[in-house]
Amino acid sequence: MASSSRPHCLLNEPDRPYLALGLEGSANKLGAGVIRHELDGSSTVLSNFRHTYITPPGEGFQPKDTALHHREWALKVIPDCMQKAGISMHDLDCICYTKGPGMGAPLQSVALVARTLSLLYGKPLVGVNHCVGHIEMGREITGAKNPIVLYVSGGNTQVIAYSRQCYRIFGETLDIAVGNCLDRFARVINLSNDPSPGYNIEQEAKKGQRLVGLPYATKGMDVSLSGILTSIEALTYDKRYRADGLARGPDDTDIITPADLCFSLQETVFSMLVEITERAMAHVGSKEVLIVGGVGCNERLQEMMGIMAEERGGRVFATDERFCIDNGIMIAQAGLLAFRCGLTTPLAKSTCTQRFRTDQVPVLWRH
């Protein structure tokens, strides 16, 4: 790709304000948001609505049921979103939707809604890479200019750096995503899925005292997480494990509680993530790090990342749950950037895809 004809930045100063609606539904959240790109180059979030499909403890979300949830809630979330934004569908420049990656059925149900709106109102469609959505919204909210990005969610674990119109993946998970690892362990110990399993693990971990040994698997800038999950699940069958977290008597001191396991899981997994992020920062000589994705709300992860960045003379950027967790506004933001560079998705190509790598997207809006 080092040829002289490689693409260059196509984003111009806005000649007028631009408006986009973003629709997201790649996993168990249905989100809709409206963003406005102002004349001075800034962005305004006009509205950002979300509804999460929550399953009972011990259960994950199935594609079919999740798609059904999205179809039902689209009828409420989108109108609420437009009303809050105070604009009409006719005012929009484009309708952005998540093309992938994610779960097939939920993606399709949202794409269908997007197509329908596009045809109804005669608005162009922009298919957006979910990961790029996270990155662009993170950059917009935090003001980080050219950070190393740690993208951590239920489906993705990647260390990303921007280089020549591409978000290059420097490191990633070799098996399961970090959010998936945490969620599945939450299910093992029967934590609630409300508001999210990861949030409840984080709260449990604060009560943990004992660090139990778990496999620590970084390989260069990649990580492997499935071995940790297997290992920590096995610990729930250990004779020292007390599911209720209570000692059986005054002499019962050598015990492992669910809180200890949550604590150990977080400490181990987050250390691995911070380590590969640091390696990428050293590699490209960057001092900024941006954490995006649902797991990015975790305050312990943010704290660890902050210590690392500070020692390198840099800083960490993170967002709160409104923007970390999947949402519609991030799709609107990334989509509108693409739209302003002349990238739209013709109706015939407005498909979705479960596999869509971050590095496949031409990032024409950056230098």
């Binding site: 590699h283 490209v284 660890m304 869509f356």
Partner: protein, 257 residues
């Protein structure tokens, strides 16, 4: 009281700092040869107990790989100091130059390199009695020995290979060149019998060549030729085929989003 090996570091000259470790040039006794100390310093973001265990395991792992290399006849620095609890590994200081700086395009300081170490006057391959072609042969032969011993380097670049300076190369062997190619920095190495891991190892080097040295294709082709000569036809075919696969898909396996 500070530990003895930290005391040794405090008497030493810092050469560079990476994400994982600081590198020092040290002297264990006042009249012995210099030692390169690699100090895996404490990571404050990590839980203290976890950090201690990890640091120790990594120093141990790197030392074990080096010993395995030495026994397999792979040219690596010899080990001179180990203090695993302090995260310190001391190895032979190699007088010479890293391969990157001896090849076209390698003069610029590396990305992330803090202070380009003062190497004095520019050294050239002539000084080492080598042509580029001969150097590529040395690289290929060394990598073949490494992989035949089921050791995967994990971070092959032209920066992680050094040539001993002829003035500091005193082996009394029947060598046709007055130098020796030495592989360094085994911090990401591991033992593996998998063809996949060996192919990725070569691919990482190929990418490093391409990104650092202009017109690197014929150079890397010579590396592979020498590598091939040291393997059996069957071994080579397996690695070659897998390398072609890896080239198509990149270092990463394609995966579900």
């Amino acid at each position: 009281m500070a530990s003895v090996s930290l005391q040794l570091i405090s008497f030493s000259e810092q050469i560079s700092q990476g994400a994982e470790a600081r590198i020092f040039k040290a002297q264990v006794t006042s009249d012995s040869k210099p030692v390169l100390l690699k100090h895996r310093f404490k990571k404050k973001y990590r839980h203290e107990a976890l950090d201690a265990t990890l640091t120790k395991a990594r120093v141990a792992g790197e030392a074990r790989t080096l010993l395995k290399c030495l026994k397999a006849g792979v040219h690596v620095p010899q080990i001179l100091v180990v203090d695993a609890s302090e995260g310190i590994l001391g190895i032979e200081w190699i007088e010479g130059q890293c391969v990157r700086k001896l090849l076209p395009g390698g003069e610029e300081p590396e990305e992330g390199e803090v202070d380009p170490p003062s190497t004095g006057p520019q050294q050239s391959l002539d000084e080492y009695g080598l042509t580029i072609g001969k150097l590529m042969e040395l690289i290929g032969a060394e990598l073949a020995k490494l992989h035949k011993a089921d050791i995967v380097h994990g971070d092959l670049t032209t920066s992680n290979m050094m040539l001993r300076h002829p003035s500091a190369f005193t082996s009394s062997t029947k060598q046709d060149v007055p130098t020796e190619l030495v592989l360094i920095d085994f911090g990401l190495s591991f033992v593996s019998t998998l063809v996949e891991d060996k192919a990725v190892d070569l691919y990482v080097l190929e990418r490093a060549f391409a990104s650092t040295h202009p017109d690197s294709e014929p150079m890397f082709a010579s590396v592979l030729q020498a590598y091939e000569r040291a393997l059996t036809a069957r071994e080579w075919k397996a690695v070659k085929n897998r390398l072609d696969d890896v080239r198509l898909r990149g270092r990463k396996r394609s995966m579900v989003g």
